[in-house]
């Protein structure tokens, strides 16, 4: 698809920094986010949540709530179809519908504190909350299990009686909390370790962390009198929201329209449905539009954190620093239902390196936490924290510069991954070289209690399905309709690719995100895929329009369309030429509207590598870590809109800083989260971070016409390891547990002293 001429081409639009098309609406407060949307007659829904982390529901009595003045409907799981263990393919991953349904409203058992049990619709949210207090639920509390290794024990309380361990499709013979075991093995691992000059084996733990998007989950549903269901929601993927809702309600997808409103952040956490099906059933019951908005504590307790983990990594190397053997053992929280992030965790743990002999074992473990969800490079950060810490220790032990050690073993084109496949052209080495050449790395770090750390990270970056169409307006502009909800400026990065293809200005494309009836199927905004895959669709839309426009020019000139060439938006033949805009004005007389369309499904991943450098200072008295300087380096293939590429790198880095230093779910002995608010779940504020420098590396991706690789997820992978490595150099203490919060670091520093 890609020709080498694109690689060297000078672009007119790509690489520039136009103002985003939705910008004015977003700085004036006019943009309509999920909670800003309101239909006449809207009533408000609220959810009753479990106070227990693990309990059997003996009975639910909603009669008093139903009689409360102002209440219009009450629902429990009994109002939903009884879903069997049916697997629904949601494009990016699949889901067991019985589990999804039981997560939306508990069936028989509650599996985490905050698990939804019943819902009420009332004239306003306050009345709905009053009614929740009137619902009588009798629970039989059961022993909860929270820590992943505890949940794996033979004597652990079982969350699901029917869950058996699947080993790549082979089922275990007894019920277990371990829902899956993954195993990769390549080469002769034990022999290689025996021959290695240096072997380092370490254990790592990470706490549950939340995606932390500022906009809580929200949905408004209207089950119309004609039986059609429309849902206005804040989602990363309107089509997957539609499919999940339809499957849970056992109605055809065509009976559901999902309208994606502007979305206030997602990071992987707004793919699964929570409120949509509940609002729908409430609406069906009361005949009114029902709007549901979560409170912040509901977001923390009822929606997906990303897995807490236990990881053991063992690496063997020669004296000269050649990695010869690797072994990793990973156990990740799945949360209340199976299907966590262990797969990518296992595939990413050694993804930066060429290790000829390696073994990876991974376990997906259910425990009494909210069902885990994707969070920016899901599963990779936990794994990289472990591997990149051991690499750093190895470099120190061997007396080799940490970048040199990485360069010596770096994955490159042709490297066979531990899970089997071989890398195509990738840019990991280039990020290491850029790090080495950076002003940050070259400048000395002075002062006591300070240290510099470095780490690398990898994420796949996926393709998947995207659709787009565009129509040419008579004034020479183009209206683009796409299906990717815009979380961080992708309307513009997609529109720019159409503009570049057509040879018009970015401002002359009007991009619009359509609902599920307005555009072809498009997978979620996730997996760092929108600028890559929806961008590819926009490119193909551009080619389609260009072909049609050439035909129109040929009609005007009465020549063969094949003789019409187009460069930079000017159509030419035999000395005659016409610009795109002028030609657009003649569509009416040359056959009517021109509409381009494309649907794409690029296969494979585009492989994003990043390397981060961080300087820290550790207060020797309080063990508080200050980030002094930070540089994020990443191969993005091609930066379509560099400002938003930098923004992704900066935002991901700061999320990683939060994960590294302070963010965590704190559970009490009953498995209840102690800190479900922004005060005690400590995401970084502006005062907690410095400016984040970025170095964009561009190694052309041959699988995309403009070389795009995607950018969003990779930047969160390296920070915890980079910061742990910096803390070690600043304080002499190696931290192997996240977050490296002051009490935890202080305890480790104190233990080391004594």
């Amino acid at each position: 698809m890609a020709s080498s001429s694109f690689e060297k081409k000078k672009y007119k639009v790509i690489g520039t920094r136009p103002v985003r098309h939705d910008g004015a609406d977003k700085v004036t407060g006019r943009a309509i986010y999920g909670s800003d949307f309101r239909l006449t007659g809207t009533v408000h829904g609220k959810i009753l949540r479990s106070p227990h982390a693990h309990a059997r529901i003996k009975s639910i009595d909603t009669s008093a709530a139903e009689k409360h003045p102002g209440v219009l409907a009450v629902v429990t799981s009994g109002d939903f179809p009884n879903l069997k263990n049916k697997i629904a393919n949601l494009g990016e991953g699949s889901v067991n519908l019985a589990h999804l349904g039981a997560n939306v409203l508990a069936h028989g058992k509650v599996l985490y504190k905050g698990h939804a049990v019943a819902a009420v619709a009332a004239v306003n949210p306050h009345v709905a909350e009053e009614a929740l207090k009137l619902i009588q639920v009798q629970y039989e509390p059961l022993k909860p299990v929270v820590w992943v290794l505890d949940a794996m024990r033979d004597d652990a309380p079982l969350l699901h009686d029917d869950l058996r361990t699947s080993s790549m499709g082979k089922k275990g013979d007894k019920p277990s909390n371990i829902s899956a075991h993954i195993h990769f093995e390549t080469g002769k691992v034990d022999e290689a370790f025996a021959k290695a000059d240096v072997v380092i084996e370490r254990e790592f733990k990470t706490a549950s962390v939340h995606q932390g998007y500022i906009e809580p989950h929200v949905a408004t549903a209207l089950w119309n009198e004609d039986g059609h269901l429309t849902i206005w929601t804040s989602t990363q993927g309107a089509f997957t929201a539609r499919q999940q809702t339809a499957e849970l309600l056992q109605i055809p997808v065509s009976q559901v329209t999902v309208v994606p409103c502007e979305i206030g952040g997602g990071f992987g956490g707004k793919i699964a449905v929570y409120l949509e099906p509940v609002a729908a059933v409430l609406s069906r019951k009361c005949g009114r539009p029902v709007k549901m908005v979560m409170n912040r504590d509901e977001v923390f307790e009822g929606t997906g954190p990303t897995p807490g983990s236990f990881v053991r990594v063992k690496l063997g190397a020669t004296r000269s620093g050649q990695l010869v053997a690797g072994e990793a053992w990973l156990a990740y929280d799945a949360g209340a239902f199976p299907g966590g992030m262990i797969g990518p965790g296992c595939m990413c743990v050694f993804s930066c390196y060429e290790i000829p002999n390696a073994r990876v074992d991974g376990y997906d473990v259910v425990n009494n936490k909210p069902k885990t969800q994707a969070y920016r490079a899901p599963g990779a950060t936990q794994a990289a924290f472990a591997c990149e810490s051991v690499i750093d220790e190895l470099a120190e032990k061997l007396g080799i510069d940490p970048i040199e050690l990485r360069l010596k073993n770096a994955a490159k084109e042709g490297t066979r991954r531990v899970d089997g496949p071989v890398y195509p052209r990738i840019g990991f080495i280039e990020t290491l070289q850029a790090a080495q050449a950076s002003e940050h790395w070259k400048s000395p770090l002075v002062g006591p209690h300070r240290g510099r750390g470095i780490a690398s990270g990898y994420w796949f970056n996926i393709g998947l399905k995207s659709s787009a169409s565009a129509s040419v307006n008579p004034d020479g502009t183009v209206s683009l309709v796409e299906g990717s909800t815009d979380i961080g400026g992708t309307r513009t990065s997609v529109a720019m690719q159409l503009a570049e293809t057509l040879g018009i200005r970015a401002e002359d494309v009007r991009p619009q995100v359509a609902d599920t009836d307005g555009v072809g199927y498009t997978d979620v905004t996730g997996g760092s895929r929108v600028t890559f895959a929806t961008g590819l669709a926009a490119y193909e839309v551009g080619l389609d329009i260009q072909r049609q426009m050439a035909q129109r020019a040929a009609l005007l000139w009465e020549c063969d369309p094949a003789k019409v060439a187009c460069t930079d938006g000017v159509y030419k033949t035999n000395g005659k030429s016409i610009a795109f805009a002028e030609l657009a004005g003649k569509l009416g007389e040359t056959g009517g509207p021109v509409v381009g369309r494309a649907a794409v499904d690029p296969q494979g991943s585009s492989n994003g590598f990043g390397t981060h450098i961080v300087d820290v200072e550790v207060d020797p008295d309080t063990a508080k870590v200050t980030i002094l300087r930070y540089t994020a380096i990443q191969d993005v293939g091609k930066a379509i809109h560099p400002s938003y590429v930098e923004g992704q790198m900066q935002g991901g880095a700061v999320q990683g800083i939060g994960w590294a230093l302070n963010e965590e779910y704190v559970f009490d002995e009953q498995g209840r989260m102690q800190n479900p608010n922004y005060l005690d779940y400590r995401m970084p504020t502006a005062l907690d971070v410095p400016m984040i420098d970025t170095i964009i590396v561009e190694v052309f991706n041959p699988a995309h016409p403009y070389g795009v690789r995607g950018v969003g997820e990779t930047p969160i992978v390296a920070p915890p390891a980079a910061i742990a490595n910096a803390i070690y150099r600043a304080s002499g203490t190696r931290m192997r547990e996240l977050p490296m919060s002051p009490p935890r670091l202080w305890a480790a520093m104190t233990e080391k002293k004594s």
């Binding site: 005690d680 002051p742 009490p743 305890a747």
Partner: protein
């Protein structure tokens, strides 16, 4: 949240009679930054909320070098650090006022409200104790005063009787060669609850080399803000130098009797009480010597 009746009082007597009539079912609203959250989250319930911000006496902020500072109970924090005279005279008060929540919180929250909420971790209370502030109360039985150190009686509990409100905080006039500082430890740099807080007030001799008198007060190391008199007594007569501050820190650490919770372990909190006592003493001494020192 449950609905409630709302009244705006314009005189102290009106507020007192409204509150006295309803007892525990009535709540005072000043900045609302604690109360509204507590009502919304069901930690407290109220049938009546009385806004006392429209009572002129409670919004009074007057300072003179001779008479000291009169801080009305409902004066929002931003007015304190926004007044350079007050900031210069009571730097530890400004230290605390500047870090109670973010700016949006400081636009509303008052030091009086922070005191009446009586959280063991409250940022302003150690400062009030260190400055030996007098709290003026008004109730159905008339007016009375209480020293800041005696105001809190337990987590969320204080000496206020039914119908009684705090009207004003009276700060003694600043003395020559004396100053104070407040520091708290939090994992982030802002928007956080103190893991431990410490305020130190020192009176130096004219030469500025000896501590004549000192008071240290700690937050989040006991059920109420703690004022270990042992530390202050030990400091009297000691040379104003780092070794002294470090030793005082050790004493503060010993006096602290914290619990372990989501914000910190017992050991860590005791340790921090020492670190912050040491650091606030150093800043207070610098300030008493006339060296401008920022606590942030």
């Amino acid at each position: 949240m449950k609905d409630f009746e709302f009244q705006t009082a314009t005189t102290v007597d009106e507020a007192v009679s409204l509150l006295a009539a309803r007892g525990q079912r009535a709540r005072v609203l000043t900045g609302g930054t604690d109360l509204i959250v507590q009502l919304r989250e069901g930690q407290r319930e109220a049938d009546l909320v009385v806004d006392i911000k429209k009572i002129p006496e409670l919004m009074e902020l007057t300072y003179s070098a001779g008479a000291g500072l009169k801080l009305g109970a409902a004066v929002p924090c931003y007015r304190i650090y926004g007044d350079s005279q007050i900031e210069a005279a009571y730097p530890a008060l400004a230290d605390a006022a500047r870090i109670i929540g973010g700016w949006q919180i400081q636009s509303r929250a008052s030091i009086g409200g922070n005191l009446c909420n009586s959280s063991p971790a409250a940022d302003s209370i150690p400062t009030l104790i260190a400055y030996d502030v007098t709290c003026h109360l008004a109730g159905p039985q008339g007016r009375r005063t209480v020293r800041a150190a005696e105001f809190c009686t337990g987590p969320g509990k204080n000496v206020l009787d039914r119908g009684e409100i705090l009207t004003m905080l009276e700060f003694p006039a600043p003395k020559k060669h004396a100053s104070a500082a407040y520091l708290r430890f939090i994992p982030r740099n802002e928007m956080d609850i103190a893991v431990v807080g410490a305020a130190s007030w020192v009176q130096l001799n004219a030469a500025g080399d000896t501590i004549e008198k000192a008071r240290v007060a700690l937050a989040a190391v006991a059920p109420t803000p703690l004022s270990p008199t042992s530390v202050g007594e030990w400091l009297a007569g000691k040379p104003a130098m780092p070794q002294t501050f470090a030793k005082a820190g050790e004493l503060a650490s010993q006096a602290a009797r914290p619990i372990g919770d989501k914000r910190g372990t017992v050991e860590y909190r005791k340790h921090l009480a020492g670190v912050l006592t040491k650091r606030t003493l150093a800043i207070a001494v610098d300030r008493a010597r006339g060296v401008a020192t920022s606590a942030h």
